[in-house]
Amino acid sequence: MRKSRKIQAPALLVSGILGLSLLAYVSGKTVSRPIQAQPKKQTQSASPQAAPVGQTQEKQGVENTKGSDKIVPAFKNIRERTAAYVFLGWIWAAVCVLIYILRQKVKEVDRLYKAKFFDLPVSKGED
């Protein structure tokens, strides 16, 4: 497992390049995104706003650029924005917990492999 240190340099380099290029691309998009006119109008049909769980309200905003319709997604209110943060926080929390559990599993399974636990015909795989 010590040998894994050697792979860190190129892996870091590539993920660094990818991350930076993604960052550049993303910041380019956010900077060049058209500024929303105030107030934002919504394109809603006559359907009732029957969102039982308030978090499901999606974000939308219609901006009239030169008399045409361009739809730029944006949060309608602080409730939607908070819901998005909560959802993301929950996903990352689940991801971090799962990564922790998986690391434990990796340690366990590596130990078992070294102890020749998986070799046939003594036992058939992990119990």
Partner: protein, 359 residues
């Protein structure tokens, strides 16, 4: 406990009829070499992860998308405003496309540099080139579907480029466009290609690609093969898969984060009569090609600059395809030149893309 026994009984029932334990045993026995290059082996399953995400979000988007000239843009607008969380599903589909193609590029370059296409893995490489082309075709056809001003212009430019190929060029453009011009027929055609033709073609080549990988096993880096050193290995299942799962989780987290905070917008409806909007650009994965095309002068001797550029690009793709047969002496000078050309391509593509973005 009885639940464990019933699980074992169920597995026994399946095993008696399907014999799937053979697959499990194979995965248990499959070994993944642990070298400093092993990190690149995570790219393959990452591509698969994003492809599955694309299929699921794509199917679900197709429930509401209407692929006609009159309704395409309206239906995407409806998805983004009316349907609950439609903006997010569309955003995930959009970002997952970017992630998938980025990792396809990394995967392709890493195989090139590590020379994993050496005997007996030539077919794996060649099916992989097909998969690369299909991935880019997915991106190209999908880009038109919202039918807004930007995507119409990008498609007009993109489908005009094959016209520069001698002899068959005009015919290829007509096939792509459904006529001489980009019209509503182009849209329906691209939709059919995007959701039916390309998935079937990609699945076919993917099954072939994956079968070859399992059959031939994981490749070793060139120096390890030459020195015939003993390489530490871990089983694919469960050891390597658990490690892959960690990578998948991080990627999913990154995808959802980007999708929630940077959803794509929708431009106004494409107008076939309107002049091209200023600042049109293809998607990022075509930027370097787009910029290269711009570099060529209008005429060189008796052929147009565009024809020359297209022929060069086509020649490059053919060279990629036959790379295993060109790189016959990987350890010698020719092999090193081929690796150097990979780095050169990376730098060139990055530089061209950045230049294109800054323009």
């Amino acid at each position: 406990m009885s639940s464990r026994n019933s699980w074992r009984d169920f597995r026994g029932w399946i095993e008696d009829r399907l014999g799937l334990d053979a697959i499990l045993d194979f995965l248990h026995n499959k070994r993944v070499p642990q070298t400093r290059h092993t990190v690149w082996m995570y790219t393959g399953s990452a591509i698969l992860l994003f492809f599955v995400i694309q299929v699921i979000t794509g199917i679900v988007l197709a429930f509401y998308y209407r692929p006609t000239l009159e309704e395409a843009n309206k239906s995407v607008a409806r998805i983004m405003t009316d349907i609950p969380l439609g903006w997010m599903i569309r955003s995930v589909h959009f970002w997952s496309a970017t992630f998938m193609i980025a990792i396809v590029f990394v995967h392709f370059l890493s195989i090139w540099i590590l020379k994993s296409y050496r005997k007996p893995r030539e077919l794996t490489w060649m099916t992989g080139v097909f998969l690369l082309v299909f991935s880019l075709a997915f991106g190209f056809t999908g880009y038109l579907l919202p039918w807004d001003d930007l995507s119409l212009s990008a498609t007009k430019v993109g489908t005009d480029i094959p016209r520069a190929i001698p002899v068959v060029g005009a015919w290829v453009t007509k096939l792509l466009r459904g006529g001489d011009d980009v019209t509503g027929d182009t849209l329906t055609r691209f939709f059919g290609i995007h959701i039916c033709v390309l998935p079937l073609a990609l699945l076919f080549f993917l099954v072939f690609h994956l079968f070859l990988i399992q059959k031939l096993g994981m490749s070793l880096p060139l120096e390890a093969e030459l020195k015939k050193e003993k390489i530490e290995e871990i089983p694919f299942w469960p050891n390597f898969v658990y490690r892959e799962a960690v990578v998948w989780l991080v990627l999913i987290g990154a995808l959802i984060s980007l999708a929630v905070f940077l959803p794509p917008s929708l431009g106004k409806v494409a107008d076939l009569m309107a002049p091209a909007p200023k600042g049109i650009k293809p998607e990022w994965y075509f930027l370097f090609l787009f910029q290269t095309l711009k570099l060529f002068p209008a005429n060189i001797l008796f052929i147009t600059g565009e024809t020359l550029a297209v022929l060069l690009i086509f020649a490059a793709v053919v060279l990629f395809f036959f790379l295993p047969f060109i790189d016959t002496r990987p350890a010698e000078r020719r092999g090193r030149v081929i690796v150097a050309s990979a780095y050169a391509l990376i730098i060139y593509a990055l530089a061209m893309s950045v230049w294109s973005l800054l323009q």
